[in-house]
Structures are given as C-alpha cells and as structure tokens.
C-alpha cells in the first residue's frame, strides 16, 4: 500500500523547507529509517528518514523546491507487513444492518408505545420491520405483525444509514446549484455542530467607546506605517486588552475536561481569519508576552500566511481563547460559536459614530463618539454570568482607558 512521506514539522517556528537533495530515486528499495531526502531550513539540513520499508514510487517535490510543512514529499509503496507510521487508524464504520435477514439482529429502535405493545403481544421486535421515521418500529407495525399480516404495503422509510429525518431533507428543484462541501467546509460545519451540542452558549454584549483607542492609533499611525509595511488596525488593541483581562479572569482562559475545569497558564489567542478557502483560526501564541506593536506584527503575519496558505498545522492548534473580527460593515454585533475546547469567544462589531450621553463639567450632554459593540459568547458549563460580565467589562475599561504603549 502506498504511503506518503510528508515534510515533518521541524519546529514551532518552521513553516517550510527546501528540498536540497534526494538521497533515493524512484524505483529504489528503502529500509525503515533510511534517509530519503535532505531538506534545508535556515541553518539546518535535515535528513528525512523512511517511515516504512518499501519501494520509492514517486518523488513529488523537485530539488530546490520549497514546500510547506505537511506537504507530501514522496510516495513509498510499503512492503506487505511493513509497520505503518503510527497514525490513528480510521475508526471502523459503525455497522448498520438495514437488511431484514441479518443474523442475530439487535432489536431495532422502537417507539415506547410499540415496545409496550410488543411486550404485551409477545412479539419479538427483531422480527418486525419498522416503517416509522429512520426505521423505527411503530405501534402499527407491531399490531400488523401480531395480527399475522405480511409485510406492510406502505413504502418503508429510508434505512437508518440514510441518517436524516425527513424534515431535514430537501428535494432539488430545477435551477438549483449544488456546491459540494470542501474538506475545510465540512470540518468547519462539523465543529460548529459539535460546539453547539456540547456547550451551552450564553451571550453578553458591551458597548465600548473607542475614542481613546482611536486617539492612540491616530497618534502612532504614521510612524507605525513607516516602521512596518502594514497599517495599524484596531484588532491588536482589542487583543491586547483581552489578554490582560484574561490574566485577571482565568476562568475564561479554560477548557472543560470531563468533570473538571482546567484554567490554563498560557494565553494563546486564536484569530478567526476569512480566507478564500474558508474560515481558519491561526493562533498567536503567548499573546500576553507581546507588546502592542509585537501583537500587531504577529497578527499581520498570521493573517497574511493564512491567506497565502503558508501556516503550519501547529499554528492552527492550541488556542485558549478566540477573537473574531468579521469585518466592519453591517455588523452591529453578533454571537460567535465557541471554538472548542475553549470556553469563550469575543466578536468585534463595527465601529460607528453614535450619539451618547456623557457628563461634561457636571452637565449631561449628548456627544458623538466612535462606538464598538463587543459580544462575548461563553460556555455556561464553565462560566457563570457574573465573571463573564466582569471579564467583558474589564476589556471595555482597558479599551476606554487606552493606556497602550507602542
């Protein structure tokens, strides 16, 4: 069976490698651990060993070519019996036996009423064909079976393998466009469903006056753009305030682990980035150790590499809290779905000038201020309302005080 040898992760900050020399050629026989190829990165030249014994089938990357971590380098036709790399074997598909003749069938799903009726009538549920939703045995099925009538005339419901209740299905109409899900889309979809299922989400919103942040940003904007080749956005300010608040509210920087809540030592902030391929969430590691300018740089770098697909798998893992900044227009506020296994996600709304009431010289006055709504979704398994509100309020305070050093 062919085995792909991928460029392994050579380190946390290593995202790519250049194939400098092939030590084998197509058709060569290789032993386990035999060096296959030299890959250079920086000041290191790494020989990648064969994970299996077999025959080199196809070399996929030419010498001199640079590829990201995880890219397949070569295909090896593994010898029968050669030990495969220890990737988790795919779980065997659950054995669904829709056929009526399968030996020793499990009792099929049945409605409670049908089950009671079957018991009273001494009918073995395993011998009854279900016609209810998803193949469930109904009261009628049992009654028909008990009265000795043959198979029901009604068309049986689709077998459980089809898996969808009728109300979830849609029959295609002329002119409909069918767009198959990409693997990333499917992953995102599964993750969203999982998160909503395991985690009771609660939302809370704060209105933040961004005057202070705007002032700081305007004061440093030009100098920053000269020092860096990108602009200073509002995102690093929000991230900076959030990591400081997370230090004070460790319960929001946590995971639920069976019967315990783990408050994490390290703060790694996931940043939701929309790319042409879909949603990815690269992670700014140890975000609390970075200055505002350092954060801006790290976020810019992650976003750029997310868009050019140059992130390593490691950079998409290990976040402890997520911030989503879904764009500026038509987005007053909204509640994001928590990125499991975290317990909170903060979503930035658009910044819009609004009339607000402030007390100036002892007088209430209506003034115009740039206002942003910050929406926090939190997992009520781990976090109660008071600390969640306290956390969000602290972020608001930090942003309004705007004591940021660049």
């Amino acid at each position: 069976m062919p085995v792909a040898v991928e460029l392994p992760s050579l380190g946390e900050s290593v995202v790519e490698g250049t194939v400098s020399r092939w030590l084998v050629k197509e058709g060569d026989r290789v032993a386990v651990d035999q060096p296959l190829v030299e890959v250079t990165t920086d000041k290191v030249d790494a020989e990648i060993p064969a994970p299996v014994a077999g025959v080199v089938q196809k070399i996929l990357v030419a010498e001199g070519q640079t590829v990201p971590v995880g890219a397949p380098l070569v295909m090896i036709e593994a010898d029968a019996g050669s030990k495969l790399p220890s990737k988790p074997a795919p779980a065997p598909a659950p054995s669904v036996q829709p056929g009526a003749n399968a030996p020793a069938r499990e009792a099929p799903p049945a409605t409670p009423l049908a089950r009671r009726l079957a018991e009273e009538a001494k009918v073995d549920l395993r011998s009854v064909t279900g016609t209810g939703a998803a193949g469930r045995v109904t009261k009628q099925d049992v009654a028909q079976h008990a009265s000795g009538r043959s198979q029901p005339a009604a068309e049986p419901a689709p077998p459980p393998a089809a898996g969808r209740a009728a109300y979830l299905s849609y029959s295609l109409q002329p002119g409909d466009r069918v767009v198959p899900m990409t693997p990333l889309r499917r992953l995102v979809a599964e993750h969203m469903v999982l998160s909503k299922r395991v985690s009771p989400h609660v939302g809370t919103v704060a209105e933040v006056d961004m005057s202070g942040v705007t002032r700081v940003r305007d004061a440093h904007k030009r100098a920053f753009e000269q020092d860096h080749d990108f602009g200073l956005s509002f995102l690093p300010f929000v991230v900076h305030a959030t990591v400081r608040a997370l230090r004070e509210f460790p319960r929001l920087n946590a995971s639920v682990l069976e019967d315990a809540i783990v408050e994490k030592k390290d703060i790694h902030i996931g940043i939701a980035v929309e790319t042409e391929k879909g949603l990815v969430v690269p992670v700014a590691r140890h975000a609390d150790r970075l200055s505002l300018a350092g954060l801006a740089q790290a976020l810019e770098d992650l976003a750029n590499r997310a868009r050019s697909k140059k992130l390593s798998a490691d950079e998409l893992k290990g976040g402890s809290f997520t911030i989503s900044n879904p764009g500026r227009f038509g987005n007053l506020y909204g509640f994001a779905i928590i990125n499991q296994p975290q317990v909170g996600i903060l979503r930035m709304g658009e910044i819009v000038k609004r009339p607000v009431v402030r007390t100036l010289d002892g007088e209430d006055a209506i003034v115009i201020r740039p206002i942003m709504h910050l929406a926090l979704s939190y997992d009520h398994r781990a976090v109660d309302g008071a600390p969640a509100n306290g956390f969000l309020h602290r972020i608001r305070e930090l942003l309004e005080e705007a004591e940021f050093d660049l």
């Binding site: 380190g11 900050s13 030299e38 920086d42 290191v44």
Partner: protein, 212 residues
C-alpha cells in the same frame, strides 16, 4: 580530539549518529580543530567562493561539501569546532530553531566567561561581538539532522587569523567582519586562551545539555 581532518571527523560523527539513532550511543559534544578547509553547506552560493579550488589546493586548503544547513565557511587552526550528536526527540526538544538558539546562548555564555561580551543577531544565526560598529562574527553555526539526531554544530574563532577567511564570503553574509576571541581581547588575551576557551565551551554546553 585535537587536530583532525574534516572528512575523518565527519566519519567519526556519522558513526556516532548511527549509534545514537540505534540507541547504542550517548549524546556527545566533540571538540576539535581542523587543518585548513572550506566547507560548503547546502545553501552555499558558489559565487561566495572567491578563489579557485586549484589555487586553494595549491595552498593546502581543502574544499568539502557538507550535509549541513547554512552557507560556506572556513575552518582552520585556532578555531574551536564543536560537533553535537544529540537526539533532540529523545530530549523532547524536537525543534530546530530552538536548537539553534540554544547553541547560540551556550556560546554567548562561554565567550562571556572568557571576558568577551557577545550577542546574537535576530535573523542571523551565529554569535557576534557585542561591541558597537560593524557586526564582527565570532562563531558560525550549521547543523545537520538525520531523523532527529543532530550532527555538525559550531565553529568558534579563538585565535585564528581572520585573514584566513579572505578566500570566501563567510556564511554568505556580506558586510560581516570575521573576528576572534584573541582579537577582541587584544593585549589582555591570556597565553592559554585556547585551553580556557575549550574548557569554557565544554562547561557551558554541559550546563545546558547535562542539566537534569
């Protein structure tokens, strides 16, 4: 190991790498000195070799190709070469950048012990004199990995003549001056600098790698 030819030292290293990979050998630091030799790393630009191989050979300088990262460099008498055969994965430190930064910090600690302030320069692997002015390079680093077992390592200029680097653009870094501990210390260099350097490097690496 004293003075030993580059190819011979490579053979010795690879023997130890294979033993380490098979679990039959320990992590090792080999400290030695090479007769004059220019080695080309995998990223070497041939244009950085400024003299013809024939002319170098006539002067007794060998040119070898090395399976290590980095560009080309010169080794010769007066330069302390350290080869590290370390199973990084076994130490739970399978990260090449962390490994490079570790070697740098060990060398900075060693040179400081000898009275030479040194520093690293972000983006340029190696160890540089900390004094102001044009960067002066004291040590070069280039590492090879077979699986997660390292080989090659570093070269610290103790008392070699920086002029020996003339035939090359060292490490492909233009505008970098080569210096040595002896030159940085000037008149205050002790007579037994070589022995002291050897001891300081051995101590710094032992403190780092033999720590429990």
């Amino acid at each position: 190991m004293g003075r030993i030819g580059w190819r011979e030292a490579l053979e010795e290293q690879m023997k130890r790498v294979e033993a380490r990979r098979a679990g039959a050998g320990p992590d090792t630091l080999l400290l030695l000195e090479h007769p004059p030799v220019i080695t080309l790393g995998r990223r070497s630009d041939p244009a950085h070799l400024l003299e013809s191989r024939a002319s170098l050979a006539a002067r007794g300088i060998e040119v070898c190709e090395a399976a290590r990262g980095g560009s080309l460099t010169y080794h010769g008498p007066g330069q302390l070469v350290g080869y590290l055969v370390i199973d990084l994965a076994a130490r739970g430190a399978a990260d090449v950048h962390r490994f490079l930064r570790g070697i740098e910090s060990d060398l900075v600690a060693a040179t400081q012990e000898l009275g030479v302030a040194a520093q690293v320069q972000p983006g340029r692997t190696g160890v540089f004199a900390a004094a102001a002015g044009r960067p002066r390079k004291l040590a070069s680093i280039g590492v090879g990995l077979r699986g997660w077992v390292s080989f090659h390592g570093f070269a610290l200029n103790v008392c070699l003549d920086p002029a020996d680097f003339a035939p090359i653009v060292p490490c492909g870094l233009e505008g970098v001056e080569i210096s040595s501990l002896a030159r940085e210390l000037g008149g205050s260099a002790p007579a037994d600098l070589w022995e002291r350097a050897r001891a300081a490097v051995a101590a710094a690496f032992a403190a780092h790698w033999d720590a429990p």
